[in-house]
Amino acid sequence: MTYDIVFVAASALAIASALGVVLSVNPFYSALSLIMHLVSLATMYLLLQADFLAAAQVIVYAGAVMIMFLFVIAYLGNRADEPTRDIPLWQLGAAVVAGSAVVIEIVVAVASQAFGPGATVTDQFGNPSLVADSFFSRYLLGFEATSILLLVAAVGAVVLGSKRPSPRVDEPDAFPAPRTQPELELQAAVMGAETAFPVHHVPRKDEDEN
């Protein structure tokens, strides 16, 4: 009985907060709704005896990932707000049709099946040591692939967030780098004198002050 009540409460909260994510105008409220959604999903994981995943969901997802989201939203300030143009009606209709088609398909497919009560499992099911057992033996390749993926993502984020964006093609001086005399001469030799920067001594800022 308690199980049923917890399930109904958690699923209602999950669906309501998912709607909050999608329908909020303020991106801050969307992110906060997603945190609530993740926590209610963690409750459902507990009902499904996935203890370790529930803990990971709250710590990693609701903790770390969402904090990063909130940080970026706060960093962007009002530029993170939704553009104010109206959505065309056909797009809204297509979105409703596509979304509800998926829901109806899956619900009908699931309802037409007779699912039994499910396998009987011990209390140990889903605890960290058992998950780790299959993670580090049978699914070791997946574990390694995930770690490489995370490494690549970290490197990509560093590249994307590095200090100076590459200069635009049409505005070579948008982000001028301090150039040295040999560099300019080399560029003139490679690109031809008419396209390169003028080859003369470019005073740097620190020299100007003298």
Binding site: V22, S30, L41, F69, G118, F135, Y139, A153
Partner: protein, 101 residues
């Protein structure tokens, strides 16, 4: 009432549909990323529900891998959003159609 696997799968289908609606209608890349998170999490719920139903650990392992993929997706996505915002471009996925602004 017995809460079987079908209830969990139905809830995850509803959440997936909501996330899909968000991806189709919202314009801000941040909200788009949040909607993709919704869809990934609903898939996680399905994996874990069937993992419990069959009494198999593998579903939980795959859910962990999906979490890792979602984390890297957020990292790269937010990096792109910040890079676009730093170049003073408008944060609107309908207008961001070219690789260079």
């Amino acid at each position: 009432m017995h809460i079987g696997v079908e209830y969990f799968v139905s809830v995850s289908a509803i959440v997936f549909g909501i996330g899909m609606f968000g991806v189709f209608t919202r314009r801000s890349p941040l909200i788009l990323l949040l909607s993709v998170e919704l869809m990934l999490n609903s898939c996680n719920l399905t994996l874990i529900a069937f993992s419990r139903y069959w009494g198999e650990q593998s579903g939980q392992v795959f859910a962990l891998i999906v979490m890792g993929i979602a984390a890297s997706e957020v990292v790269v996505g937010l990096g792109l959003v910040v890079a676009v915002a730093r170049r003073k471009a408008e944060l609107d996925v309908d207008r961001l159609t070219a690789l260079r602004h």
